[in-house]
Symmetry: C2
Subunit: 337 residues, 2 copies
């Protein structure tokens, strides 16, 4: 697997995308021991220059031959590119940390959030999967609650920002907003409906059971990472006109009773979680405040009086950082620790 | 009570506000038999002119003496004005339909959605309360499900538009949006935090139990109108950067099993509900489409696999029309029927 070194050759596949750029920035910010950065992208972005560690690095085209000498590759170039190129990387001796959905439910591939199931890393066979952004934000808050009181069921509704779709969607929200204020016709390229001043209950494709793929990711990835199929999750995933950060409304039913104060104390002590909960002072997590933060911010913690043992809460996490790039880099940090 | 006539003197208290204007427009649109319109407002709006039935009507100042000869008064001037002026109106022989929260939970006052509990109107003593906008939108869809399968519990998360707060909030969202696109500082007058490109889990004031008043309205008003305290509801109410219409994500647990198809059929046959549910064609209710519509639009209807008898759905209703002005006018129509 990964040999211990003083520094590592690190490739970023999809280096010019929204998450790829964040990956490079976070490697820099956290002083990951990078001997050489290998930014990879499609033909279109070949030759672009990426800033890292005070130098410029030239983007190369992603091919099956890109991985010779690469120790770690962070992939964020979409599921089909992961399926095409990750096996070649593994063959070349590279450890792949894949941000796409391609390998997440593969029983041979660990799906890891370092605060939740770091032990799963030990059994990787060259590929480690990074969970879906809306699941990562949620599971760091669910884990301490599950450990203390055993979660029976979660009902979650998400408020997901357009950056989760990518850079084009960020541009689309901005363009539609300015068009509406200029009394111009809006253009729809990325989403099937207007996203400006609207909420779309539609993220990723619809499946036969009426759920979207995004909703089922939250159900299935949670079970896999908790290593507990008895946790029942039902999800409604909604796109909102917000640029960055996913907010989520959670209703959690536990075996053991937890008071709001006990829940607050548990979460305050949990890694990767910040309790931000003082409604009397109008303090609760907000997308605009959590942008750029590493932790899941949790507030509006209150007992659900409609069931014996229930908690409602509101959480916000930065979908590009913890929801994608940061979690991938944290996995890499664990691998070299 | 109300004497049968060919046409009625109708006062609108708060006639220049967002809901008041909608009330006047809906009286006109539905050809309510108005002999005379009496638009009332605070001193500030005195003398303004309101269009109705092809004529201009001058806004008068709301006082305790405003109601002599008035048959029906639609109030939408805030709870404190309702408490101050509604008793004087009743004393003058006027039937008051109050859109504020002032009398909703008063056991002497019927709280009515005509599609849900029209029989409650019979026992009014001069005041009839119009429910909260987020409750009205939801309860027209819950009623047929409760009748067919007995609802045990509802977990609801709302996506509420700024028009629910009033005209000033609509202006604030517009102003903040343009300021952000002009790289100017945003101003916050109505909400404690930026609403543009953000979601605020805070509607109305916070109570001691950690819930907002808005959330508890959904719990308590639902029980009162269903005349069934065994229906358990837990709510998270969220303000989103949308101008008009409230969207809601509902998780509903029933005594009797309902399939998604059975739920669709029930809702399609229910008064005040339109099923708009064809995800394969990207058809689901959207705030921008439901604006100006009378019905609650329901889509994303699917079985909740996390419990024995559960349904998830997404609904959208126009908070100014059915959520406020239309429901009040429909109550008036029932009174004169």
């Amino acid at each position: 697997m990964l040999k211990k070194k003083n520094s590592y050759v690190v490739a970023v596949a999809g280096a010019t995308g929204a998450v790829g750029r964040e990956m490079v920035a976070i490697l820099d910010e956290r002083k990951f021991p990078v001997a050489e950065l290998v930014p990879l992208a499609s033909e279109r972005s070949e030759g672009e220059r990426i800033d890292f560690d005070g130098k410029k690095w030239t983007v190369k085209r992603l091919t099956k031959e890109s991985f010779s000498g690469v120790d770690i590759a962070l992939f964020s170039a979409g599921a089909s590119r992961s399926l095409e190129f990750a096996p070649a990387a593994v063959e070349a001796g590279t450890v792949v940390i894949d941000n796409s959905s391609a390998y997440r439910m593969d029983p041979e591939v660990p799906l890891v959030v370092p605060e939740v199931n770091p032990h799963a890393l030990a059994r990787h066979k060259g590929i480690i999967a990074n969970p879906n952004c809306s699941t990562i934000g949620m599971i760091v808050a669910l884990k301490p609650i599950h450990d203390a009181a055993t979660i029976k069921r979660v009902v979650v509704t998400t408020f997901q920002s357009v950056s989760g779709t990518g850079k084009k969607a960020v541009d689309e929200l901005a363009r539609q907003t300015t068009a509406l204020f200029s009394f111009k016709e809006i253009e729809k390229d990325v989403y099937p409906h207007q996203i400006a001043f609207n909420c779309l209950p539609h993220i990723d494709v619809f499946l036969d059971n009426g759920y979207t793929k995004e909703e089922m990711k939250m159900v299935n990835e949670t079970k896999k990472m908790m290593e507990d199929d008895s946790i029942r999750v039902t999800a409604t995933a909604v796109r909102v006109p917000v640029f960055r950060c996913h907010s989520e409304s959670l209703n959690i039913e536990t075996e053991k009773k937890l008071s709001a104060d006990e829940t607050r104390a548990l979460l305050a002590a949990a890694p990767g979680v910040i309790v931000y909960d003082d409604p009397g002072k109008n303090l609760y997590p907000l997308a605009i405040d959590v942008a750029g933060k590493d932790e899941t911010y949790v507030g509006r913690i209150r007992e659900d009086e409609s069931i014996e043992n229930g908690i409602n809460l509101w959480l916000v996490s930065d979908n590009l950082r913890k929801g994608a790039a940061l979690n991938a880099v944290q996995i890499a940090e664990r691998l070299i620790a």
